[in-house]
Symmetry: D2
Subunit: 279 residues, 4 copies
Amino acid sequence: MKYHVGCTLEYAVPSPSVFVFNVTAAHLPGQTVLYEDFSTAPELPIDHYTDPATGARYHRIDTGAPHLSVRYHATVEIAPQVCDPAGVFADPPAHLSLADFAYVTPSRYCQSDLLMRLAYREFGTLPRTHAQPAAVADWIHRNVDYLVGMTTPLTSAFDIATSRAGVCRDFAHLGIAFCRALNIPARFVSAYAYDLWPRDFHAVFEARLGDRWYLFDPTRQASPGGLVRIGTGRDAADVSFASIFGPAMMTHMDVYADAGDAESESAPKEWRDRAVSSA
Amino acid sequence: MKYHVGCTLEYAVPSPSVFVFNVTAAHLPGQTVLYEDFSTAPELPIDHYTDPATGARYHRIDTGAPHLSVRYHATVEIAPQVCDPAGVFADPPAHLSLADFAYVTPSRYCQSDLLMRLAYREFGTLPRTHAQPAAVADWIHRNVDYLVGMTTPLTSAFDIATSRAGVCRDFAHLGIAFCRALNIPARFVSAYAYDLWPRDFHAVFEARLGDRWYLFDPTRQASPGGLVRIGTGRDAADVSFASIFGPAMMTHMDVYADAGDAESESAPKEWRDRAVSSA
Amino acid sequence: MKYHVGCTLEYAVPSPSVFVFNVTAAHLPGQTVLYEDFSTAPELPIDHYTDPATGARYHRIDTGAPHLSVRYHATVEIAPQVCDPAGVFADPPAHLSLADFAYVTPSRYCQSDLLMRLAYREFGTLPRTHAQPAAVADWIHRNVDYLVGMTTPLTSAFDIATSRAGVCRDFAHLGIAFCRALNIPARFVSAYAYDLWPRDFHAVFEARLGDRWYLFDPTRQASPGGLVRIGTGRDAADVSFASIFGPAMMTHMDVYADAGDAESESAPKEWRDRAVSSA
Amino acid sequence: MKYHVGCTLEYAVPSPSVFVFNVTAAHLPGQTVLYEDFSTAPELPIDHYTDPATGARYHRIDTGAPHLSVRYHATVEIAPQVCDPAGVFADPPAHLSLADFAYVTPSRYCQSDLLMRLAYREFGTLPRTHAQPAAVADWIHRNVDYLVGMTTPLTSAFDIATSRAGVCRDFAHLGIAFCRALNIPARFVSAYAYDLWPRDFHAVFEARLGDRWYLFDPTRQASPGGLVRIGTGRDAADVSFASIFGPAMMTHMDVYADAGDAESESAPKEWRDRAVSSA
């Protein structure tokens, strides 16, 4: 499936500032960037770094100009794996890959250590299959209101567990925290999402079941099958689309994710009840 | 109904300390202290204060002695009101007594402002009768584990809403916070509780419905009908059984509440499904 | 000294809502309301309640109208007490009035129980005179940035102690929490403040020293001598200028406090280094 | 310098449990394990994993036995780098290695995003040299009480910033959070510490300055020069000495770190005012 994705970000830069962007499609097995262009106006030198573990790509720009405009366009081919959720099982702690333990421990916005008892009460007796993180995503969808403006970048899963309102980032954090509390490795995925409205960057979570990472969107606003992955991390702290060092302020943002072929339009919707993993 | 209640509290006092005790039965309509004795060893001057609004009584002791022992014994007659919960209705905000507004606003351990959405999701569609706070108490009983040692005096309703474990004080705080989030005035009651095991001071909450305060015990460890009230406040901060200014440490505590007549043994249990108010 | 104070508050009321306003000058010794008018448009019945302990006055309005406008005008004579701070001493816990204990215990936004160690480190060795709460106010002025938009009505003293930014309400909460941690009764005062810019309701704190309550403004934006008191409470939860039950939203607010005689213009500024108590 | 280090950990295991230990000396440049023995009683299969990024080593044990005893002994040669702090400079955000950005973002127990303003107030005007994190460590030493029993494994830097008491883990978390708030990459180091009393595992932090990681011990209980490193992570969540999945409970713990040659006894103390980095 092919998607055309991209964004335009504009900033006022009253005094010299350093930006680290994480907006480009990751280079990963199962996700091929066919074409892309990342440019700035004014034209500036760009430091580039790719995280070897996750394929996430970071672009750093150091500017003293009064304005900065960043544009990214890409055409990306993705080949998500789709299977019957009934055949997908979670590993017990004795068999989890020790390399994945960083995704079982709590992180800044996913305080699984504070949600243990709640997670076990709500999900502890479910079979340790794809159904368990799927039930987590369902619970969040039913019990948390999707509302813009109730939360801030400082809001965490612990807050949301009681305040019960937030946006995609908050929904993903709560899903991750619940999964980790259940000893299922879970992580944060930032993405371009096909068919998302209003247009914006999206966030979902993925859970490690057997030897694959399965995608879940507790907001139900996008299909796990229609995501072009940008970043992968413990939580939003790892994959902020723009980290700014200095007094710059965003003045405009536009994000898009359009289908590039017929399958890209239909497949994600058809897969809503399947187990989808990224590669 | 008649109860014999009391306590012995012993302290090591390495250097001069001031104690404020709130362990004596309140003087209130519906609760008559037939006999009581409050004494200290060594014998010391005692400042006494009764809160005019709640009848709670405070005893202050200022001592430089290396040890302090406080003993309280009382025989108390209580006359709780018992009625059919079906006939008990909550006032809407337009008719609440403005004198009760202090019990609708959030307090230190009952952050109703943080639990609004959760309260409405869980209890918002219930009829605004005795059934609504009763459902709050049931929910807490079902969803929070009664466990000693998981919480501290700093633990609040907001913490418990997610951590899901605590003791009577924590259960009462969560009940109060939920009721206030639903615009039902609610307050904290410390008490001697008949038939409580292990023996200790107890805490429950009461909710304002119409022109009376109805008692609820989300721990299910005592009957609202078998309580000899000590203090009434916004939360535990108001009615700590002992506030200590100085380095004194408790070395021993014993608390009891025994039936003084046959009705005291049986009535509380029979009333478990009735609406009980203190006076 | 005489002040002309008042406000206009306008609301959109999409469906029936109940308002409880606390915007009228309190009736207290030392503060005489010479003239006042509280009116609504449309004209509506008003429930009125005066808290017997603090003189704070609450007006309740129940409306289904699509708009509500509230106007208050008053001319108020105040007679603050002014004295040399050197002669003002804090009572030790052994001599505090037990009636003031509610102002030593923690409240929703003033978690003195969490700030004990910090309070003792910063202020514990100061003399227990007017200088101690004055040092608290100074510390807040020096260490917290006055910034609009960094905090919300849910922000507490505990948050501000680390985040170090807020508005008058937050500054008052932190001052109260520090004083209580030092065993000095302290409470929240909402007021019309002469010479405040931009024009708004103001919040300060007062601390009990001996037999009087002394005023402190850690924002340094108004003089303790130029305040017309509206409400007095444990913290902002007690004296919100408008509590709304329903979906109403504020659309306009204007607040003023003008001098009514020559002394009102000059005295407050001259008193900046004196100990000022309200009556 | 040579140290003999090790530990004995004993557990009651009432039902099958999985343990992941992180108690062995890391294999790193500048730290050579000359001899080591990791054994369990009863003898059990052990899964072993080494984090490629940090050299931290994890041992997983799955047991149904009623008791588990783990012993570790090692002789380790360390070669810390020591230099004049005056020549050590922090990189600005424009030149930080993007590979280190994970150590600038907030983590579970190091909420640098909540401490920005406090960090800038206290340390923001210092030169961006070794002196800045050294001032952080000094501040913590002066302003936080080292007290056992005031904190739990759930306590974070944000809590400590106000509560002002904790143990080595808490001190390290606060140091890390402050450094990250100042845009200095910082991370958590668990270690065997020579001359630590009482004997226990130790925790310190290290900050990235130029091309090296420099060690700081805000507890002042051990010398950065006398540490045998076990784990390196974002915070304690990454390098818990024992993560337990199941109901096992520790019944005994002993930890030691003895000097293996004359330099090991003297050098660490001599280096207290130098800049020490691990390799």
